[in-house]
C-alpha cells in the first residue's frame, strides 16, 4: 500500500516522510512480520497425526493450515533451531482443520463440512494437491456442519465422520461412497472411539450422552447418559462430553461432567478422577490414563483414581494429545501435545517436556 501512495508525490509529502525504495521494502517486510506474529499469537492447533513411518508429525490449525514437522530431525542429537520448525506448511482447508487421521499411506483431514485426503509421500515435497475431497450427504444443502472427529475402522477399511449435524457418517475408503448414517444424537458430536472386540463405535457429544453403535447392524446398542449419574455430573460445567477413549471393556470420558472411568458391560461409573478443569482429550496408555484439557498440564492417572503426575506444557490449554507408537520408528516414540498456541510440546519421557515444535 505504501508503494501506491508514493506514486503520488504531492500527497506523499503530507502523508508520510519521503522514503526510498529500500525503505518501502523494509516497511512491507515489517508489516508481514507483524502479521505473522499476530497470526502465531492467535493460533490454535486443533489436531495432530503421526505419519505411518513414524518420523513425521502433521498438525492442523484454526487457519486451515497443515504443517509437517520432522520428528526424527528434531529428536536427533544434532538438532538445531530449524529442526523445530515445520518441514512444509500448506493451506489445506478454508476453515479450521478440526480433525486428522492417518492411514498407511494417506493423511485424512477434516474441517468445515469436507474431508480431504493427502498422500504422505507427496506432502513432503512442496506444493502438493489433495488426492480427493468429499462431503458427506447432509440433510439440507444449506448446512455446512463442521466435522469434529474422524475414526478409522481398519477391519472394514472405512472412515467414520461425526460433527455438527449430529449424525455419524461411514465412508468406505476404497470406493469413497457413504455407506451408513447413524442417527440418534440430539446435539452435535465431539468425539469418537472404536471398541475393537465387538466392532462398535462410541460417540460422545454435546447432548451429554455416550452412544454405542454396532457397525454391523447400524443400530444404537447402548446409551450412557453421563450427566444423569450424580457422582460424576457437574451441572455448572454443562453436560457436554468432550473426550472419549475406550479399552474394549472400559471407557473413560470427560468434558462437562468429571473425568470418569466406566465399565461398559454394566454401564457403571467406577472411578472418578478428581480434576476440576474440563478435559478435552483422553487416551489409555499402558497402565495409565493420560488426559489434557483446560490447564497447562498433561495429567497422568492410574486406574484407581490417583494422580500419578502432572507435567506442564507450554500452551495455556491443550486440545489434543498424540502418542507416536508406530513400530517402524521406535526412536521417535514420543507424546506430543498441542492446543491454544502455535507450539506442539514434545515429551520424550512422560515425566517432563523435552522441547516444543513451533509453527
Amino acid at each position: 500500500m505504501r508503494r501506491h501512495t508514493s506514486t503520488l508525490p504531492f500527497f506523499s509529502v503530507f502523508l508520510e516522510p519521503p522514503m526510498g525504495l529500500h525503505g518501502q521494502v523494509l516497511a512491507a517486510a515489517k508489516e508481514a512480520e507483524v502479521f505473522q506474529a499476530l497470526q502465531r499469537l492467535h493460533m490454535t492447533i486443533f489436531s495432530q497425526s503421526v505419519s505411518p513411518c513414524g518420523k513425521f508429525l502433521a498438525a492442523g490449525n484454526n487457519y486451515g493450515q497443515i504443517a509437517i514437522f520432522s520428528l526424527s530431525a528434531a529428536l536427533s542429537s544434532e538438532a538445531k533451531e530449524e529442526s523445530k520448525k515445520p518441514v512444509v506448511t500448506f493451506q489445506a482447508h478454508d476453515g479450521p482443520v478440526y480433525s486428522m487421521v492417518s492411514t498407511d499411506r494417506h493423511l485424512l483431514s477434516a474441517g468445515d463440512g469436507e474431508v480431504k485426503a493427502w498422500l504422505w509421500v507427496e506432502m513432503l515435497k512442496k506444493g502438493c494437491k489433495e488426492l480427493w475431497c468429499r462431503q458427506p450427504p447432509y440433510r439440507t444443502s444449506l448446512e455446512v456442519p463442521e466435522i469434529n472427529a474422524l475414526l478409522l475402522v481398519p477391519k472394514e477399511n472405512s472412515l467414520i465422520l461425526a460433527g455438527g449435524d449430529c449424525q455419524l457418517h461411514t465412508m468406505d475408503l476404497e470406493t469413497g461412497t457413504f455407506t451408513r448414517v447413524l442417527r440418534g444424537h440430539t446435539d452435535y458430536i465431539h468425539c469418537l472411539a472404536l471398541r475393537e472386540r465387538s466392532p462398535e463405535v462410541l460417540s460422545g457429544g454435546e447432548d451429554g450422552a455416550v452412544r454405542l453403535w454396532d457397525l454391523r447392524t447400524a443400530k444404537e446398542v447402548q446409551t450412557i447418559e453421563v450427566y444423569k449419574h450424580e457422582e460424576c455430573s457437574r451441572p455448572h460445567n454443562g453436560r457436554w462430553i468432550g473426550c472419549l477413549a475406550t479399552d474394549s471393556d472400559w471407557m473413560v470420558c470427560g468434558g462437562g461432567p468429571a473425568l470418569t472411568l466406566w465399565h461398559l458391560r454394566s454401564s457403571t461409573p467406577t472411578t472418578i478422577f478428581p480434576m476440576r478443569a474440563p478435559q478435552k482429550h483422553v487416551t489409555f496408555y499402558q497402565d495409565l490414563i493420560l488426559s489434557a484439557g483446560q490447564g497447562r498440564c498433561v495429567n497422568q492417572w492410574q486406574l484407581s483414581g490417583e494422580l500419578k503426575a502432572q507435567v506442564p506444557g507450554s500452551s495455556p490449554g491443550l486440545l489434543s494429545l498424540s502418542l507416536n507408537q508406530q513400530p517402524a520408528a521406535p526412536e521417535c516414540k514420543v507424546l506430543t501435545a498441542a492446543g491454544n498456541s502455535c507450539r506442539v510440546d514434545v515429551f520424550t519421557n512422560l515425566g517432563y517436556r523435552a522441547f516444543s515444535l513451533s509453527f
Binding site: Q286, D287, L303, S304
Partner: protein
C-alpha cells in the same frame, strides 16, 4: 639419492633415539674408542682402554636387554588389554539383553497392575451392592410371607362365601314364609267374603 637416504637415515635415527642421550652416543663413543685403541701404541693404556671398551659394551648390552624386556612387557600388556576389551564388549551385549528383558518385564508388570486396578475398581462397585445370599434369603422370606398371607386371604374369602350363602338361604326362606302368609291371608279373606254372600242368599 644420497640426500634421500640421508633423510631416511636421519628420520630413522630420530625415531629410534630422538633425544640423543644414552645409547646412541654410547655406541658412537665405543666405535671412536675402538678406532683409537687400534691406533694406540702402549700396553697399559691399551689395556685400560680395552677394559673401558668392554664396560661400555656391557652397558650397551644391558640397555639392549632392558629394551627387549620392555618390548615383551608391552606386547603382553596389549594382549591383556585386548582380552579385557573383549570381556567388556561381551558384558555390554549381556547388559543390553538384560535391559530388553527388563523392559518386557516392566510392560508385563504394568499390564498386571492395570488388571489389578480394573479388578479393584469393579470390586468397589460390587461392594456397594448388598450380598447375594442375603438378598436371596430376604427374597425367600418375603415369598413365604406372601404365600401365608394368600392362604389367609383364601380362607377368609371362603368363610365369606359360606356366610353369604347361608344368609341367602335364610332370606329366601323368610321371603317364602311371607309369601305363604300373605297367600293364607288372601285365601281367608276370600272365604269370609264367600260366607257373607251365602248368608244373604238363604234369607228370602
Amino acid at each position: 639419492m644420497g640426500a634421500v637416504t640421508d633423510d631416511e637415515v636421519i628420520r630413522k635415527r630420530l625415531l629410534i633415539d630422538g633425544d640423543g642421550a644414552g645409547d646412541d652416543r654410547r655406541i658412537n663413543l665405543l666405535v671412536k674408542s675402538f678406532i683409537k685403541w687400534c691406533n694406540s701404541g702402549s700396553q697399559e693404556e691399551g689395556y685400560s682402554q680395552y677394559q673401558r671398551m668392554l664396560s661400555t659394551l656391557s652397558q650397551c648390552e644391558f640397555s639392549m636387554g632392558k629394551t627387549l624386556l620392555v618390548y615383551d612387557m608391552n606386547l603382553r600388556e596389549m594382549e591383556n588389554y585386548e582380552k579385557i576389551y573383549k570381556e567388556i564388549e561381551c558384558s555390554i551385549a549381556g547388559a543390553h539383553e538384560k535391559i530388553a528383558e527388563c523392559k518386557k518385564q516392566i510392560l508385563q508388570a504394568k499390564r498386571i497392575r492395570k488388571n489389578r486396578q480394573e479388578y479393584d475398581a469393579l470390586a468397589k462397585v460390587i461392594q456397594h451392592h448388598p450380598d447375594r445370599h442375603e438378598t436371596l434369603k430376604e427374597l425367600e422370606a418375603l415369598g413365604k410371607e406372601l404365600e401365608h398371607l394368600s392362604h389367609i386371604k383364601e380362607s377368609v374369602e371362603d368363610k365369606l362365601e359360606l356366610r353369604r350363602k347361608q344368609f341367602h338361604v335364610l332370606l329366601s326362606t323368610i321371603h317364602e314364609l311371607q309369601q305363604t302368609l300373605e297367600n293364607d291371608e288372601k285365601l281367608s279373606e276370600v272365604e269370609e267374603a264367600q260366607d257373607a254372600s251365602m248368608e244373604t242368599d238363604p234369607k228370602p
